[in-house]
């Protein structure tokens, strides 16, 4: 099939099997920031946004992504700069393999995700084997606070 979409704000066209995963399509197009992890939707390293929803791109079929607005970690500096900054400044990473998924997941958080428990529940599907999660949760809370401030400046 010919898949038409927007990826990171730009038009995107790819000739791919409809049953290929969005992960394969993106990585095949050179967008290797999105990582292949468990390939069964558990670890979260392949998280991308499809029409503003966080999905496991390893499970998401190309056919379902046709016509969608897709954002990957490569677009986060534009789409959610405060999230990227928060992860850099809070050192919310070690090896970095889960980082793209963590950042995209945090970028998809609504304003209802406010406190530590909300964040931990929301991110429970984004595994990290390095950090023990403390700095990731801090980065997420920091990002949420920055975004609240952006929406409603003091």
């Amino acid at each position: 099939m010919k898949m038409h979409a927007r990826v990171n704000g730009s038009p995107f066209v790819a000739e791919v099997p409809a049953t290929s995963s969005l992960l394969e399509v993106l990585r095949g197009a050179g967008l290797t920031g999105t990582k292949e992890g468990c390939r069964i939707g558990v670890c979260g390293v392949c998280t991308v946004l499809v029409d503003n929803r966080p999905v496991s791109s390893c499970l998401y079929l190309a056919g379902c992504a046709d016509g969608a607005d897709i954002w990957t970690v490569e677009g986060m500096a534009e789409h959610a700069p405060s999230v990227v900054d928060a992860f850099v400044e809070c050192e919310g990473m070690q090896c970095g393999i889960c980082t793209p998924g963590q950042i995209v997941a945090v970028a998809s958080m609504g304003p209802d995700v406010r406190d530590e428990r909300d964040v931990r529940h929301y991110l429970s599907g984004n595994l990290c084997r390095c950090t023990g999660y403390g700095t990731i949760v801090e980065a997420a809370l920091d990002a949420q606070a920055r975004r609240r401030d952006e929406v409603a400046p003091a």
């Binding site: 099939m1 099997p17 409809a18 049953t19 995963s21 390939r39 069964i40 939707g41 558990v42 979260g44 998280t47 499809v50 929803r53 966080p54 999905v55 496991s56 390893c58 499970l59 998401y60 079929l61 056919g63 379902c64 046709d66 997941a105 998809s108 929301y122 991110l123 429970s124 599907g125 984004n126």
Partner: protein
């Protein structure tokens, strides 16, 4: 030379009728959120010749209250269900079950229709919907029909649906004052499948139950109803403790669990008794010891 993995046709019908038509083709498989189908295709467990995506059919995404019930379109996502103010207020067991499935990414796209039609005995929605006495609305070439959850699911990952049939909605009765609870027991990771799960509904008038339903998940090839829960009808509060314990033992007797990573069959049976009692206590308004 032979080819490697073949490509499936990917159809995106705009109406239920078109979906039914498309599903008439040999080897056709319907998908909605795609979390299970995507997994199975990705792992090579399923090689459909035609995929029929239900994600662009407006009729399937409607969630509305009608007399005495709530009609939930089959492609309503679990995230939407869990966050819906009326669902939370009127059928909290359903909201809690939907909020428990998988992780954030699964809930963002997985649908109520898929969660029921997949018929996985470890899934959260079937026991909750069974306790809520929900009906699944189905459309096919033979027309439309309504099935109870335990009519729809006839075994381990198996339903009575014909290949051309598609789930269009799940209808949940709304009864004023009806309480509902869903508890899942995940002693390891909260993101895991439940070792066992229990759901209950109760109508209580003047401190006396007038209707009680109990359903159990994770402890057999499919979620099952525990008819002995009806014996709680008319039982005064002073006897709830012993009566719920008896019903819980009946629930355990009806269990048909398997040994797996989540626990031995013997342990799961014991846990059915504990969680059946706890969900009944909570639903009837008694305090229970819950994590």
């Amino acid at each position: 030379m032979t080819e490697s993995s073949g490509d499936a046709a990917f159809l995106v019908p705009g109406t239920v009728e078109a979906a039914v038509e498309a599903l008439g083709a040999a080897g056709a498989v319907a998908l909605a959120g795609g979390t299970s189908i995507g997994l199975m295709v990705g792992q090579g467990l399923l090689a459909p010749s035609v995929l029929v995506w239900l994600g662009r059919i407006p009729e399937l995404s409607v969630l509305e209250e009608e007399d005495g019930g709530m009609s939930i379109g089959a492609t309503t996502t679990l995230a939407a269900l869990a966050a819906h103010p009326r669902v939370r207020a009127t059928v909290p067991a359903l909201a809690d079950a939907a909020a428990s499935v998988g992780n954030t990414r699964v809930r963002a796209v997985a649908t109520i229709g898929g969660a029921v039609g997949h018929a996985d005995p470890r899934q959260d929605l079937p026991p909750a919907l069974l306790a809520l006495d929900a009906r699944v609305e189905v459309a096919g070439r033979r027309g439309r029909r309504r099935l109870a959850i335990d009519e729809l699911i006839d075994g381990f990952m198996s339903t009575v649906l014909d290949p051309d049939e598609v789930i269009t909605a799940v209808r949940v009765p709304l009864v004023v004052g009806r309480r509902s609870c869903y508890l899942r027991y995940t002693p390891g990771s909260a993101d895991d499948y439940p070792t066992v799960a229990a759901a209950a509904t109760a109508d209580v008038a003047d401190g006396v139950p007038t209707a009680v339903r109990l359903a159990i998940g994770g402890a057999g090839p499919a979620a099952y109803l525990v008819p002995e829960a009806e014996e709680l009808r008319g039982v005064p509060e002073g006897r709830w403790a012993s009566a719920t314990a008896e019903v819980a033992e009946s629930a355990a007797r009806r269990a048909d669990p398997v040994d797996d990573r989540l626990g031995s069959a013997a342990y799961k049976r014991r846990m059915v008794a504990v969680w059946a009692r706890r969900v009944l206590e909570r639903c009837l308004g008694a305090e229970g010891a819950l994590p």
